[in-house]
């Protein structure tokens, strides 16, 4: 049911973990299925230098978490804010129809983390 890309990111997730003294932290829960995702950021000169995630959720949730961290790293915060759920799903070569909602977790958590950074540093 999952694409190869999804299974790759699910079985070898990139950037799992926490960042101590992170510059920004975002946590979102998926209202529809009760799953949870947390993103940690290290930011320098408005650029995401390091990013880590922790996820309690299905295969799609873990894969999108992993993918979004790969897509975000090295981007400016403004660029990262434009990353959409659809873009993440597309980068994974698609998700099953009943799993599209899982991709919401990833981009939302990233955006929350950036907002959190901006609140802390404004």
């Amino acid at each position: 049911m999952y694409t190869e890309k999804v299974m790759d990111h699910f079985s070898n997730p990139r950037n799992v973990g926490e960042i101590e003294n992170a510059d920004g932290v975002g946590e979102v829960g998926n209202a529809s299925c009760g799953d949870i995702m947390k993103i940690f950021l290290k930011v320098e000169d408005n650029v995401i230098k390091d990013i880590k995630f922790k996820t309690f959720g299905c295969g799609a949730a873990i894969a999108t978490s992993s993918m979004v961290t790969e897509m975000a790293i090295g981007k400016t915060l403004d660029e990262a804010m434009e990353l959409t759920n659809a873009a993440v799903a597309e980068a994974l070569d698609g998700l099953p129809a009943n799993k599209m909602h899982c991709s919401n977790l990833a981009a939302d958590a990233l955006h929350e983390a950036i907002k959190n950074y901006r609140e802390n540093h404004s």
């Binding site: 699910f10 973990g17 299925c33 009760g34 949870i36 996820t55 299905c58 295969g59 099953p96």
Partner: protein, 386 residues
């Protein structure tokens, strides 16, 4: 890669003896059992033999067995057929919150169509309260529908006592025995059941065949109207191969019932102990003694079920989960919910269900691969305290 199947409650492989019994009915014996000529005759005898085999396993007379296409059809027929036939008597049904969707969804449909349905609660072991059941009976009650063994947790309801209460109040008793038949002794007389549903693919017969026991004299409106098959109780050309397979599977199940149950219980207990000994923060879901011998349901705290299943799958192990994420539905297992398991633990619930072909090696292998998988996933979890 090693392949270990631990999902017998979902479905089972067709037993070789069953396949042997079936094959002639895909080849030379292709007739329609309703036909009077040579092509029909051989086949109608085979259908009647299968009816006897099913009847013997559940201790009823062959005329009380009606073949269906699956357990879900049987449950729909039991409920809708009773409601339509007993409309003059009442419109109240009593069932439980942990039934299979084939019963629950049908009850929700009936509720929208003029029935009152009482959904009995269960305790944290998934057990019903007989007093609550008896108190729920009113003058309008026409049916008690309570499953024999729960598909997710294996919890066994006290069907004999439920049957006694039903008889005492002259209320019809239906039991969904899809998970019980073939795993433990099932006797419709002892249970005092008026209706009982079973499904072939849970006991080594093919998918797409089942049966419903309808006690002699029980008024029922058919779910499928049409031809005269099954004494006007279920129309449609017989699934001859499936029916023959179901008969053979029932015969085989009856032959080895006790030994298989003991073997499976032994392996299941070993798996359970092994998990509890090796892994912290594990909760066993379901009744610890009143339980199907083959079923183990555990919640691995902090881990979501689907991600666990996929990791098992990568190691060749097939199991299942009560997580909403597995089904793509919005809510995790309604069974866990009814038992009061908290949402995160419900998401974590994982079912191992064994079969007659399960081995010690299967269990050892699972116990070997499990700890690192759990460790890895917990480290990925924002809920894990570390």
């Amino acid at each position: 890669m090693k392949k270990i199947y631990m999902d017998y409650n979902a479905t089972t492989p067709v037993r070789p003896e069953v396949l042997d019994a079936i094959l002639p009915f895909y080849r030379e014996e292709f007739g329609n059992p309703s036909s009077v000529h040579w092509a029909g005759r051989a086949v109608s005898g085979a259908v009647e033999k299968a009816r006897e085999q099913v009847a013997k396993l559940i201790n009823c007379s062959p005329a009380e067995v009606v073949f269906t296409s699956c357990g879900s059809e049987g449950d729909n027929m039991a409920l809708k057929g009773t409601v339509a036939a007993l409309r003059d008597k009442g419109n109240h049904i009593i069932t439980t919150g942990v039934e299979h969707p084939a019963v629950l969804e049908t009850c929700h449909y009936l509720e929208k169509n003029g029935c009152d349905v009482t959904f009995l609660t269960v305790d944290s072991d998934g057990m019903v309260d007989l007093r609550q059941l008896e108190d729920a009976i009113t003058e309008k009650t026409i049916l008690i529908s309570a499953m024999w063994g729960n598909n997710e947790t294996g919890t066994l309801f006290p069907v004999e006592e439920i049957g006694r209460i039903a008889r005492k109040h002259k209320v019809r008793f239906h039991t969904d025995a899809v998970q019980a038949v073939g795993k433990i002794p099932v006797d419709v007389q002892k249970a005092g059941a008026d209706l009982l549903v079973l499904s072939g693919h849970k006991i080594g017969a093919p998918k797409g065949v089942g049966a419903i026991y309808i006690r002699r004299g029980t008024r029922m409106t058919p779910l499928i109207h049409g031809g005269h098959q099954e004494r006007n109780r279920r129309a449609g050309t017989h699934n001859v191969a499936g029916i023959v397979g179901l008969g053979m599977a029932c015969e085989l199940a009856g032959q080895n019932l006790e030994q298989n149950a003991e073997r499976m219980a032994h392996l299941r207990d070993k798996l359970e102990q092994g998990i509890l000994n090796q892994i912290p923060d594990v909760k066993v879901n379901g009744h610890r003694t009143q339980r199907l011998p083959n079923t183990l349901n555990v919640s691995f705290a902090y881990i979501e079920g689907e991600s666990l299943l996929l990791n098992f799958d990568m190691k060749g192990v097939a199991a299942s989960s009560g997580s909403a994420c597995t089904s793509g539905s919005l809510e995790p297992s309604h069974v866990m919910g009814a038992m009061g398991v908290d949402v995160a633990l419900a998401h974590s619930s994982t079912r191992f269900s064994l079969g007659p072909d399960s081995t010690e090696e299967d269990v050892d292998y699972i116990l070997e691969i499990l700890p690192p998988i759990i460790q890895r996933l917990r480290e990925m979890s924002p809920l894990y305290p570390g």
